[in-house]
Subunit: 442 residues, 4 copies
């Protein structure tokens, strides 16, 4: 295991308050149990027989999430804030709903404030009014897409102003729902809070539709996104099959990682080429995409290409360098691919019909699938338990099918990527039948 792994999560202080949630500490009485402070799980499950395992150091284990018998905050003194940041993602409203409901019904916290439009909602210049939240307001929001709070990018680096606002509002718990940048902002906020000697818990729910956060088994909204991307591929497939040498090109999200593309390809069975950021490829040349595409068209007369938005960035860069005028012609791999494919087959004097689909907003702005709804409900609930128990700088994560506390620092320290040599990509190669490498000289 990596030397730098440290899964310890900070605690605001000693827990002296008896939880208002009535559970049991007795096994076998059919009554749900509190989570004990000695309940952890292993992160790494890889093992070889006869391998010796030393004693587990605490910092390499992940603490289980869930309700504690003794908590840190007195419910009647809690004023909780919720903020959603970054791009839309299916399930945001489910998480908000779960947080509000768990605070309201389980802990009896009635003072809950929604911050509008991300971190910018804390900034004076915007002057957005906050929203007072209660259980009735959130009753049906999980059936709607988007976020009832609104969201925005940026603003997270203006830490002092944000903490000023937190103090002004009188929040002692803040739930930050967002991605990498959001949680980096949350760390800075937590540190500023600490510097000021304030007793404020910062608990995050990690959000990334690309599924590329580390130490998080899957990110919420990802399953929903794949479901919808599958429909785009089905459409592309119909277009391709219905036309003379039809080529359907679908661009999906995935700036740094190709998880959506890989899963969509596996789900459809109609994809012939998947291009992801993790694996370089050439368009032209003996082993380039176009030669393989041409071969496919000659034998099967149609093809579907699925490209993650972050794929082939080296090609775009080369293109920009070639372009003396300094005008950026291609910022988008999807459109670039479409244009180059047209050009290639024109040169080859082969009639093809190319259809390009970019379904991005129709993927992220939809209500969560039932599976994601469940996941979000549980993430939100566990975030409340963590905060009430005094955890801070902590994210709620799912690892080995167990909800755990993850220190924010660990989550933002590296990015999750598709392993080109691992089983997921191997299964994609088997499902598409595409060449292992489409790179000349390989």
């Amino acid at each position: 295991m990596n030397e730098r792994i440290n899964f310890s999560v900070p605690l605001l202080g000693e827990r002296k308050v008896v939880s208002p949630i009535k559970m049991s500490t007795i096994l076998g009485d059919l009554i749900a149990n509190y989570v004990g402070d000695d309940e952890f799980i292993l992160y790494d499950v890889e093992a070889r027989p006869l391998e010796l395992r030393q004693t587990y150091r605490k910092e390499e284990l992940l603490e289980k999430a869930g309700p504690r018998e003794m908590i840190y905050f007195k419910p009647e003194e809690v004023h909780a804030g919720i903020v959603t940041c970054g791009g839309l993602c299916p399930g945001l409203n489910d998480v908000i709903r779960a947080i509000v409901n768990c605070l309201w019904y389980r802990y009896g916290v009635k003072n809950i404030t929604g911050i509008r439009y991300g971190y910018k909602g804390f900034l004076k210049e915007y002057d957005f009014p906050v929203i007072s939240l209660n259980s009735e307001m959130v009753e049906n929001i999980h059936k709607e897409s988007g976020t009832i709070l609104g969201s925005s990018r940026g603003g997270g680096d203006r830490t002092e102003e944000i903490v000023d606002a937190i103090e002004r509002l009188g929040l002692n718990i803040l739930f930050t729902i967002g991605g990498d940048g959001t949680q980096k902002g949350a760390i800075a906020i937590a540190e500023e809070v600490e510097r000021r000697g304030k007793d404020i818990a910062i608990v995050g729910v990690p959000k990334t539709i690309d599924n590329d956060l580390s130490f998080v088994q899957k990110s919420f909204g990802f399953e929903t996104a794949v479901s919808r991307a599958v429909e785009a591929v089905y459409s592309a497939h119909s277009e391709a099959k219905g036309a003379i040498n039809g080529v359907g090109i679908v661009k999906v999200m995935g700036r740094e990682s190709g998880f959506i593309a890989a899963h969509t390809a596996l789900a459809t069975g109609d994809t012939n080429f998947v291009l992801i950021p993790e694996i370089p490829f050439d368009l032209y040349g003996r082993n380039g995409l176009f030669r393989h595409l041409r071969k496919r068209l000659e034998t099967r007369h149609h093809a579907v290409i699925l490209v993650a938005e972050g794929a082939g960035q080296d090609l775009l860069k080369a293109e920009r360098e070639k372009d003396e005028s300094g005008n950026i012609r291609f910022g988008d791999i999807g459109l670039y691919l479409k244009t180059e494919t047209e050009k290639y087959f024109e040169n080859e004097k082969m009639e093809v019909t190319i259809k390009y689909i970019d379904p991005s907003y129709m993927i992220r702005s939809i209500p969560a699938s039932p599976g994601d709804s469940i996941y979000c409900a549980r993430l939100g609930t566990n975030a409340v338990h963590a905060a009430m128990a005094g955890r801070t700088k902590t994210l709620i994560s799912l690892v080995n099918n167990t909800f755990v506390h993850l220190p924010m620092e660990m989550a933002v320290s590296r990015r999750n990527r598709v392993d080109p040599e691992g089983p997921l990509w191997r299964d994609v190669l088997e499902a598409t039948g595409q060449p292992v490498i489409m790179k000349n000289g390989r």
Copy 2:
């Protein structure tokens, strides 16, 4: 860990054939890797700090699934059979498709036979013709529900006749897709095969829409089933809200375990009472369901009850014993609950409107969701790798997010159930707000 755990999987014999699948054994070359024979994972991830771990015995580790560099069967000599048994489940066609495609395209196996209507398809008296399968036939079957092979219950105990048929057909690989009973049948078949000294691999893909197989992280089709059950609850909720003291009762599958009910409740947020086989309850009395239901109606004027088909079997039994005539009046907890609820409120002279929904066949006879499609594609592919590598009496399972080989004996040795004291049920209680126990004297 349990003493009787033994995850070792049988192997037909030495692997002497070079796999026709071209992969790499070098890390870092961006080429997908074969799975080595020394790659295992831990089953149990629970851990406590400073706990000492002894060396891992091989039989307590799970072998990773996936393609091997050296395999057992010569592809050109393989004749593979596929059989689907038991009730319909979303994803059956996806599994069939993945098996056929992996055999056809990856290993070059062209001799693939589909057995009709489950184990009965092997029996002479039925005389069902088998189907010769190829990649073209399965191209679009994953978009359809059901199974193209047909299925049936029973017949799996007529081991000798089945093995006679296997020999007659000349199969040397058999894929058994089915639940508990099916895999017990498969074990018997494998043992008879061994007794006869035949070289036939029996590899299973576990199927149970109830998600109650042990050592399987989730069963395929379960996610899809929950998605559809969610719609039934939404309908019940609308019916309940739209009527005077409306009570919507939805019965879902789950003979031995309440996983579908529990997940559906978490996904909807509209369920008020969940009744599962794992937790006993009373209808009448001070702490019975009806008293709590009445209270809910008095304050909120509508309620949704979600009941797993295996819940409250003690109540049905008592009812049957009371019934002197010997006629079984209630075989069905859903209808019983409906009738008793009507009776209760009639006695109480309270006007209620009860709507009962039993969506069972509309849940299991639908195409797989994209998430289940992915899962099935990977299960099927890994089943082929296992069989080609000479594994037998082996199931493909997902454990800690890793595809593994699981000995059939382990899978059928116990059943997975909702832990009334664990985190899933705890989150259900939080989502529904229902009493922890609805049993008098508690």
Copy 3:
């Protein structure tokens, strides 16, 4: 054309108020036009060449619905009530939303009251509080199934009490959304109102998921219901195909008419036998259903039967008469059919697998399809225009693709039924391939 046709709609009195809606009376200015009082359409489009048409009498023409330049009520004096009656139907909330929005935004009426739980909401004994409605409250209700007002059956015959309540509330417009019974109640209310010399407009929106209202081209919710019934047939078809001699039986709504069954059969292409109330059939005998079913199973090995709930009532009646004990054994054609089918094949010693699906509540308790949403939006809007213009005892209907005013008396005077000799049923026979008549002696 029928002698008793009279499409004249009553008017409360002279229109002296200028509509607050700004439209045009000039053709060609690209500004939407008011509807003139001389705009009518023909009901009957059947014609033969050289046929002489007399001058049109006004009462045989249907008045176009839509906004008038001069209206009857002063918007600031209007207090409108809305009531939804009978069983749930997709689109109820869409109609409510359209009525509220058109009143609120177009006419500036801010005094809108929702009556709870149908006509019972007017009765003192229930004491349900009314709901004050505004545009904000209805913003998203069309995305939810059911009715936000609640509904109930009955109570519509207590005319005097209802009119007392209407007076007590001070309503001068009442929108009645419901079926046959509801509109009969509305007629009685309108007559009592007239008797009391009150100036109250009663305008209805006809609702019947069975599509069996006369002089209404299609009823709202019907398209949605068919969409969902189609899914039930697909499930039944999968079950049937996946089993040994599988027979899927689906029961759909349709007490008096088989429109849902007929359309569902046309949409699926997977239905083999459709049984509707309009066409008698035998089960047994030379030309009975079972003989044809048996033949189908012998050649194709699976079959799907779609039965409307009102079909075969003569069979049920005969069954009841046979049953000396006086116990009603079969109130339900679906269960009866299932039981008899089992019995028949048991006698015939033929192994069959029967799956019975009754999806009724999952059909009617779902949100409206986009097509139905559009229809409901337009029905509701036109209902407001009619009421504001002083029409009463009037329904909004669609005839020959034109929204029209229909006198309530005409709508309740007869029922729409599938014509066994007409084109719809002819196309069903062609799609299913079922015998024209399954009746012995024919």
Copy 4:
């Protein structure tokens, strides 16, 4: 009624063959009836009281579609061809399926040929092999999007080559499924066929996803297209609501007419501005879109704009004329609108967040909704009846809810458009609340 209306449909010759379809000519025997040659309907239903109607001339009446007792072709001598042309549209496979099934099962025609990739499939240079069609091949194709035959644009003007191919194949019936251009091609084919003295029926099924064919009540696939466009608007609405002054722009199909846009706006209730080709608008200026948009953002903070692809072509043209370089910068109203909106608010120094969605291929490449499936099934069936009865140069159309024969010449003579002063657009204005005209000087 228009002077130039002529609804007479050509007939190849006298009908001397007894139909193999067994129906009845007796009313009241519960047996479906043949359609008589004297059954017509009125096209125009507008009427005013006391208006005198002269005798109906035959050419102003529409002949009812359906099976005739006497037909023209001997089924055993028929060789039918099917061709699908132009862009994909939901329901193409449903129409193909209905044609094949009606020929196969009802008339016993077993000689059916599918032409690949539109009219180009007739051309020698492409050398596409034709497909021999039978009922088994089309069993499940209605569940898939696209067309199993493939389609293409153009080629329809090469009449002689096409008729050469028709003769070479030996077709005596050709079904042409396509839009305006396709049916113009079909007219030319029919005329060439006549010139050559051949006995070949050319019968069309009109296809236009834009719903802009005249004398056709609704075009197939339109309902499905609207359903999916609705999802795009919901996504745009979520994006807009979730962002700081969010503006969602959705472009939908509709080159000449705004039907998809208008219906989508009515279905969603979330659209604030609809721009269609029929109604000119300005972007800038006192009464331009942007001023109204700004007002909307100031009060409600988000907005959704729905634009048909053919809207604002005058603006694009002006833009192109301004651009001295001769480079066409904007061929697309959606992207132009997006760019100009950004520019406008940048100038106004108002922070807005613009999201642009173009869902076109995801709209047209999906399976037909149940409503469209029904419609397509009936169109296809009636096309077969028309052809077998010897009709030629004839389209199947739905008028006043009746399936009729429509001469191809009439259908292509004019285009259907949204009437800015009619009830559809009036209801859109009421639903969106947008200004009647957004044009300066109005």
